[in-house]
Amino acid sequence: MDEERKYGLYSLIIGLLCIIGIILADGLISYVLYVIAVPSLLYGIGAFIIPKTRRKDAGKLPFRGY
C-alpha cells in the first residue's frame, strides 16, 4: 500500500469513528464530529477511488524536475 492510500485508510477510520460518534452523541459535540467527519470521509473515500499513479518518478515536483 502506497503512502497516499495509507493516509486515506487513516482518515477513513477517523471518519467512520466520527459517524458512530454522531449517532451516539447529541448537542454541540455532534456538530464538532460532523465537521471532522466530512473532510476525512472525502479524502478517505477519494483515496481508494483514484487510480494508481502512472508517473515514472513519483514525487518529483513537476515544475522543477526534482
Partner: protein
C-alpha cells in the same frame, strides 16, 4: 443522534452547489465582458468532480502529514463557518477567527509542499494580512452600533432600525473589498497570481485540489451570505429565494470588478488594503468618540 444535524447536511450540500454554480457564473460573466464565449456555468462543478477521481502523489520535498492535512482543514474550517454563521447565527468574532484560519491554510499549503512557487504564494498570503485589519474594525464598528456581535442580534437590530449598509457605508465598503479579494481573478488575488503558476495550490493537484475546490465553493457562499446578513438585513436573508437572487446580483457586481481590473502588484495591493483599513479605523474612532 441530533435530528437538527440533517438540516445541516442539507445546508452543506446546498452551500456547495450554490457556491460552485455562482463561481461558474462569475467566470462566465467575466469571459463575456472580455469578449470571449467562456466555459459553461457548471464548469466549476465539473472541475471539482473530475479532479476528485484523479491520481495524486506526495512530492518528495513535502512535509507530511501537514501537506495533506491543510487541504482537509480547509473544508473543516469553512464547514464550521457555515454552521456557526448560517445555522447557529452565533458570534461574528468566531467567523473572523475562522477567516483568519484560512490564511493558515494558504500559508501551510504553500510552505508544506517545499516548492518555490507554493512558498511564494504562502509568503504573499502572509504579506496581505492587511486585509484582516478592516475585518476587525468592521466587527468593532458593528459592536459599537448594535451593542452585540451575535449575528442573530444584528439581524434583530436591523429588523427594527433598517439596513446597516446605510448607517455604516464605509464598513460595508471594507467588507465588500474583502469579498473582492476572495473572488478568483480579482485585482487583489496576488496569492494565486498566474505569475507564480497557481500560488499556494501549485503542488496540490488531483484529489487534494478537488477538496480545496469544495472548500472554496462553501467559502464563497458563506462570505456572500455574511455580507447580505450583516449589511442588508433580515428582509432578504429570511427568504431563501431572495437570498439566492441577492447572491447572483453580488456575483455579477464582483464579476464586473474582476473582469475590468488588472492584477495589482503585491505591494500595491497591500498598500490599497492598508489605506482602506485606515479609513475604517478612522470610522471606528469617530463612532467611539460620538458613541454609536
Amino acid at each position: 443522534m441530533d435530528t437538527s444535524l440533517i438540516g445541516t447536511i442539507n445546508l452543506t450540500i446546498h452551500a456547495f452547489l450554490v457556491g460552485s454554480l455562482l463561481l461558474g457564473l462569475h467566470r462566465k460573466i467575466m469571459a463575456r465582458i472580455q469578449g470571449r464565449p467562456g466555459p459553461p456555468i457548471i464548469q466549476y462543478l465539473l472541475h471539482t468532480l473530475k479532479f476528485y477521481v484523479k491520481e495524486i502523489t506526495f512530492p518528495i520535498t513535502a512535509g507530511n502529514p501537514l501537506y495533506m492535512f491543510v487541504a482537509l482543514l480547509d473544508v473543516a474550517i469553512w464547514l464550521s463557518a457555515l454552521i456557526i454563521a448560517v445555522d447557529f447565527k452565533s458570534s461574528l468574532l468566531i467567523i473572523i477567527g475562522i477567516y483568519v484560519l484560512q490564511k493558515i491554510v494558504e500559508h501551510g499549503c504553500g510552505l508544506s509542499s517545499g516548492s518555490p512557487y507554493g512558498k511564494l504564494g504562502g509568503v504573499r498570503s502572509v504579506f496581505s494580512a492587511a486585509a484582516e485589519v478592516p475585518l476587525f474594525a468592521v466587527v468593532a464598528a458593528v459592536y459599537l452600533t448594535t451593542h452585540s456581535v451575535l449575528i442573530s442580534d444584528v439581524l434583530k437590530y436591523q429588523a427594527v432600525n433598517g439596513s446597516l449598509i446605510f448607517k455604516m457605508p464605509i464598513c460595508a465598503f471594507a467588507f465588500f473589498i474583502l469579498l473582492v479579494s476572495k473572488t478568483p481573478y480579482s485585482p487583489f488575488g496576488i496569492v494565486k497570481g498566474k505569475d507564480i503558476v497557481s500560488g499556494y495550490m501549485t503542488e496540490h493537484y488531483g484529489l487534494l485540489a478537488s477538496i480545496i475546490y469544495i472548500a472554496e465553493a462553501i467559502a464563497y457562499f458563506v462570505l456572500l451570505w455574511l455580507f447580505i446578513a450583516v449589511f442588508i438585513g433580515p428582509s432578504i436573508i429570511n427568504d431563501p429565494i431572495s437570498t439566492l437572487i441577492a447572491m447572483v446580483i453580488m456575483t455579477i457586481i464582483l464579476a464586473f470588478v474582476s473582469g475590468l481590473t488588472p492584477l495589482l502588484a503585491p505591494h500595491h495591493s497591500v498598500m490599497l488594503q492598508m489605506t482602506i483599513a485606515g479609513l475604517v479605523l478612522c470610522d471606528v474612532l469617530y463612532r467611539l468618540i460620538v458613541g454609536g
